[in-house]
Point group: C2
Chain length 784, copies 2
């Protein structure tokens, strides 16, 4: 156990650790006197103290030990820290190994730089207190807890030489996302993928409570880790010297185990799922900080979580802080100019081996575009609108299959889904690759194997977390999900969108591939699952985020879906939300028209319109089912009011509805007015909650005339047609809406209303018989 570190090396590593701790405390507290060259005075201390100390010394300890491991074995390693509140520690280490100054030259490696480093922390126009996009070496925002381990596995997939050291906080370990993330080891292939080394940091406390995993005893905890499929290595202590030795030995053993697992898999083939090592590190919260303040124990309690000495009204607190800072002996760590001493600095790896400068943690640097087959080749051919039916997602599946095939060698594309790839009709992909599976395989299994590139697990959290980790390290992916259940990862989407937004303002962060969602099995076709599976609100959730990073597409048919998907796979730094059904539906546009339509984002469908230069009404729609109902309503209208003039408008790219000042895709007012008119009634059939259309269009000149129908939480297990009826989105209702709003048809309204109710009576019988639902819509030759 004492073999790994010489006494000299241990002493130096301890000094390096002290330096990182000193810089961490300095960031939290100091605005001046960064090297303590003068006695500490109140005016050296920031007026507002913001930051998290408790987790930081442990993160710093692991950093210096991982540095030793990297240097000793020339490892390619990145560092993901779940307890991301420990931002000062990561900033400190990046500074110590020089990458911080490379990214931010004003933060020089001298006294001035130190002072700037300290002042900028948790300061207006400075850096956040958490690990954030501004932190070199990070792919993981430290604000919302629970996603570290999923990110770590995502980063490790298809990176055979990479080891992802992932610190799991014992607080975040209580979250749902983290609790299931341990099972990611059933999806990691030791031959093809890299390794994840989870390090559960038991510092024992959250902000106000002990943690569960620190209070269940060692046996239960190691049972739990074995149950999750890991071999735990326990390191425990509060004497730095002893912990240095045992931790170094533990890391050597873990690395040896990883190497043995990989060697076996790579030389003898992947046969069984290995039992990967993991480390349990139990050290005091706020270790090396003040033992007591005002008579209360700080170190080793939840009181060390944030700022251990929070008030300086008591002058002895200044002395307490000074003593704490001087306990790290800064004069031994920095030279007279304030530069970190060379004999310590050499302990860090160099160049890209530094965890804070590893290109995997700035994935855009490694990003290669996908090789994409020409999507025109997958188009549904048709002799005219409404002449053929197709399942949009099945058509997309063939395209995705060949995207997968074209990039098998590049190993940079994966498909993610919570047990739904086949249900969502993308299973053509399984013709060219398996679903990844490292757990046991039985005879009945189909398309499962260790080399699969389709990631299926019944956890939206894992799908999202893995995909984020995969994208952030410079690869590509596609996530298909039931529309209603994508809300499970609403908060993860928030954090990813915020990450992208922040990166937009950081020049050294290179663009990464967009996060592409396909939401299907959508609200209008939950025939047997009913109310619990009906929720189109994720669109609303997404459009709350910065316009620069979000895009929403509602392709009305398969060819439009192809065009949109191709576009999304080429895009960078966005979250693209695509909503499309999987059921057989009428098709409207040939592929060339689809491309033109999708490029414009919205447009008039002349073939479905008549007299469109001076329409009585604009029938607008967004979404596949609303498009069908709108077109059927148009047929009813021309039958009932032969001389009616109707303009049909379809919207694919929902963002065109916003003013161009609000979203880069927003139509300028002139173009919007050309399409939607400035004074004609607009009956708008929308896939989601109707008020979203109002929210997007309220600044438009004709907004007052826009009348929207959409989902309003009605219906459950029933026929698709009954669903649109119950939500007033059906063709009869849309036709009636139009008639009611056309002034010259005022005399018709009463008769049309009566006719509507008679139709609904028939409809009630009709759905009672549970028959076929969608009358056909074919003939587009206007006779009027």
């Amino acid at each position: 156990m004492f073999d790994v570190l010489s006494d000299d090396l241990m002493q130096k590593m301890d000094a390096y650790w002290r330096a990182a701790n000193y810089l961490s405390v300095g960031q939290i507290y100091l605005q001046d006197n960064p090297l303590l060259e003068q006695p500490l005075r109140i005016e050296h201390i920031k007026p507002r103290l913001l930051g998290h100390w408790g987790t930081t010394p442990g993160l710093n300890l692991l950093y210096v030990h991982l540095n030793r491991l990297i240097s000793a074995h020339d490892l390619d390693m990145i560092y993901i820290i779940g307890p991301g509140h420990g931002g000062p520690g990561l900033v400190a280490n990046s500074y110590l190994e020089g990458s911080y100054t490379e990214r931010y030259p004003a933060i020089e490696r001298n006294r001035n730089g130190l002072q700037r480093l300290f002042r900028q922390f948790s300061w207006p126009n400075g850096v956040p207190s958490h690990v954030s996009p501004e932190t070199p070496g990070s792919i993981h925002e430290g604000g919302e807890l629970g996603y570290s381990l999923a990110h770590a596995y995502g980063a490790a997939f298809d990176n055979p030489d990479l080891i992802v050291a992932c610190i799991v906080g014992d607080g975040e370990a209580e979250t749902g996302a983290l609790a299931t993330s341990w099972h990611s080891n059933k999806f990691l292939n030791p031959a093809r993928d890299g390794a994840v080394l989870p390090i559960l940091h038991l510092n024992g406390f959250k902000i106000a409570n002990p943690t569960i995993l620190a209070r269940i005893g060692r046996q239960e905890l190691t049972d739990l880790m074995r149950g999750y499929g890991y071999e735990p290595i326990v390191v425990e202590g509060d004497d730095p010297k002893l912990v240095h030795h045992t931790l170094a030995a533990a890391l050597e053993r873990a690395l040896a185990d990883i190497r043995a697992i990989q060697a076996a898999a790579r030389h003898q083939g992947v046969t069984v799922r290995p039992r990967w090592p993991m480390i349990i590190l139990r050290t005091p919260k706020g270790w090396t900080g003040p033992k007591q303040v005002d008579g209360k124990q700080i170190e080793g309690t939840w009181r060390a979580h944030q700022v251990p000495i929070a008030s300086f009204k008591d002058p002895t607190h200044v002395q307490l802080l000074e003593a704490w800072l001087r306990s790290y002996r800064p004069e031994e760590l920095f030279d007279a100019s304030g530069k970190f001493r060379d004999d310590l600095a050499v302990l860090a790896p160099t160049g890209h081996r530094r965890m804070s400068a590893n290109p995997h943690a700035n994935g855009g640097e490694l990003l290669q575009p996908l090789s994409l087959p020409d999507f025109h080749g997958y188009a549904v051919t048709q002799s005219g609108p409404g002449t053929v039916k197709a399942e949009a997602t099945r058509v997309l599946g063939a395209f995705l299959r060949d995207v997968m095939k074209s990039n098998l060698d590049a190993k940079n594309f994966r498909l993610f889904g919570p047990d739904e790839t086949a249900s969502n009709r993308l299973d053509a992909v399984l013709e060219v690759t398996d679903k990844e599976w490292m757990a046991e395989i039985e005879d009945v299994d189909v398309a499962l194997g260790p080399d699969g590139r389709v990631m299926e697990v019944l956890s939206e959290h894992l799908c999202q977390g893995w995909l984020e980790g995969y994208l952030l390290t410079g690869r590509h992916g596609f996530f298909s999900c039931y529309e209603a259940f994508i809300h499970i990862v609403g908060s993860m989407f928030n954090q990813h969108a915020k990450w992208l937004k922040t990166c937009d303002a950081i020049p050294w962060r290179r663009p990464i591939a967009s996060l592409n969602y396909l939401l299907t099995s959508h609200v209008w076709r939950q025939d047997h699952n009913g109310l619990s599976h009906q929720d189109p609100g994720f669109i609303d959730h997404v459009v709350n985020k910065k316009a620069s990073v979000v895009r929403v597409y509602l392709p009305p048919d398969a060819n439009c879906l192809l065009s949109v998907a191709d576009h999304c796979l080429r895009s960078r730094n966005y979250v693209n939300l695509i909503v499309a059904g999987k059921q057989p539906e009428w098709q409207w546009l040939d592929i060339d028209s689809a491309v033109r339509h999708c490029s414009a984002g919205a447009g008039i469908w002349h073939w479905a319109s008549n007299g469109e230069d001076d329409p009585d009404v604009v029938m607008a729609c967004a979404g596949d089912v609303p498009t069908l109902e709108t077109l059927a309503a148009v047929m009813l209208l021309r039958e009932y009011v032969p001389d009616i003039r109707v303009r049909v408008v379809n919207v694919v790219d929902l963002m065109v509805l916003q003013p161009s000042s609000e979203h880069p895709h927003g139509l300028d007012d002139k173009r919007f007015d050309e399409i939607f008119t400035v004074d004609k009634p607009v009956v708008f059939a929308f896939h989601g909650y109707p008020w979203l259309i109002h929210r997007l269009t309220y600044r438009r000149r004709n907004h007052f005339n826009i009348h929207v129908r959409g989902y309003k939480e009605e219906g459950s297990t029933t026929t698709p047609f009954d669903m649109v009826v119950l939500n007033d989105l059906d063709r009869y209702r849309l036709a009636l809406d139009a008639i009611r709003r056309i002034p010259r048809l005022a005399g018709e309204v009463e008769a049309a209303t009566a006719r509507y109710w008679a139709t609904m009576q028939r409809h009630k019988l009709y759905i009672g018989e549970h028959g076929d639902d969608m009358p056909e819509v074919r003939d587009w030759s206007w006779q009027g």
Copy 2:
């Protein structure tokens, strides 16, 4: 092992199981010939086959065995099934024990009733295919997976005589929420609370894949369960006779263990956390269904998940279905009239002992109102608006402390929070109760213990799931959460809101206490946590749900928060969302004014207005920080434009903004126009994303004049005042917005704009110095 069941009893239980299975298959398939009195023909089969068979036989097996256990030991037990797709099984069992007919008299216990029972399933205007509010005995919607075990623990809290049998599907076990729910046993007190008996049903497959837990080997699985703190009892097999015996023995053992644990805790006191039993039941998916269809294995594979025989184009499939149905020997199970045979029916418990008629599963039947202290007694006293500061949530904390105290004997109130009760300044509650904690306790711990009624765990999923289970079984609760992270349970909120909406239409579902959220540590005061902690979008998410079940409150100060909280604790069947800050802020209303203001939902603040009969501008606000900025803007305006006439409007109840046709709280148009005028500019400062105000008001006459400021994803770690500046919500911007919109001040705009920019320049210096942020606002005597 063969001691528990006599051969005769085993045979009868097997017959009971066959009856439940027969009725389950009948629901999925048959629209006629319910007793198979004629040879099965295609017209007896539903034209559209919707449902889930795979999990159902296992659920039915457990039901009959739990029935035996209940009868043998006179147990008070409810049944929560995670694999809620197995709806037909629960409906079948409720029908067999008579409670279904009691709730739905048309579903008689004869041939006609059987036919109706079969036809209504997954049929328009019938019942959903999942377990749903319509299912007697259920408190758990079976659509979105992952929440069964958290619901089970919530139901067990404070119900010492109740045992909650909770079936965890091996599919749902992969979700994050379920993966962390196992740890709920660290929060269950065996003396005070009831018991949860988790039964992990390993049927091996999801919709398209094997499950993780079925493919990790028995040792890892039992290690995992021991690591979670349970003692697993494994039951495994595919021979019904053997499984009957081993399952009966396993349940007896589990019950004995539960009773022993409870007896020890109740007689000798709670000393150590017990190792509760749990059962692992491994049986084939779709057990007793077709072995093969079209040459493909069905039973024991994922292909049994939904409808094993899905198409009847092949006429032999009708024979296959008939053989399957007849394998249950319906003629032995039902008499000539179609009634379930008495000698089998007597196996079920009676009255409230039936799991489908247990009042805990219709919690409103048991609901007792909270004893509430008079909230006036906790009011902040003040000599006028803006004369005193208070921390709103701390004031609320004192009230909640006494709510807790007043209901300690009734044991029907708990507070829930993800490690944030103290951070959210509700810690006065800890003066009268501890935080519940059954894991190890150390000397440093404070306010932790086995009798606590504050539920803290770092998992929003567990807080939400426990609270839902607690409410659905007839108790009361309050959930405080950081505003940004409540999105973690956005999907759980969806399902609960849908449950409440559905219950509104089910007469026998009695009203339950509302689910009360307090969102604090909100977007405007994330001074050190920054961007990741800033997200007010949950309001948008909530208002998408049915108006009949959602309420949103933004109290501007502590006294309003008291009034709102009191109201919410008295309300029923809603989700109440309260957003309020925790920081010291100026107070505006004395308690009587606060009550009047909150009852109205919105109103003119005359004391802050002048010339309000004919205002130049309406300055509206919703939320505590926007209210402060609005009032400060008013002070700037009257200084800069002494003769300006300003009306100040504050909105507490956001739902008043909607038309009364859209929400029961909506102001009628007359009252809305009285407050907001029909033609004056309205500058609206809003807590959340600004477009929500447009979405709520777009039908109002003066909507065109409403100009909204709110959060737009700007700012990170910075001062509170800088946050409002960066999002254009600051007092200077609001004042400028007003001046720009008042026609008679057209000549002032240029000077005001210049002044604004000069102010902002000073502001930049100001925040650079990181000083105090919020200038005081006190003097409300208008001089004009």
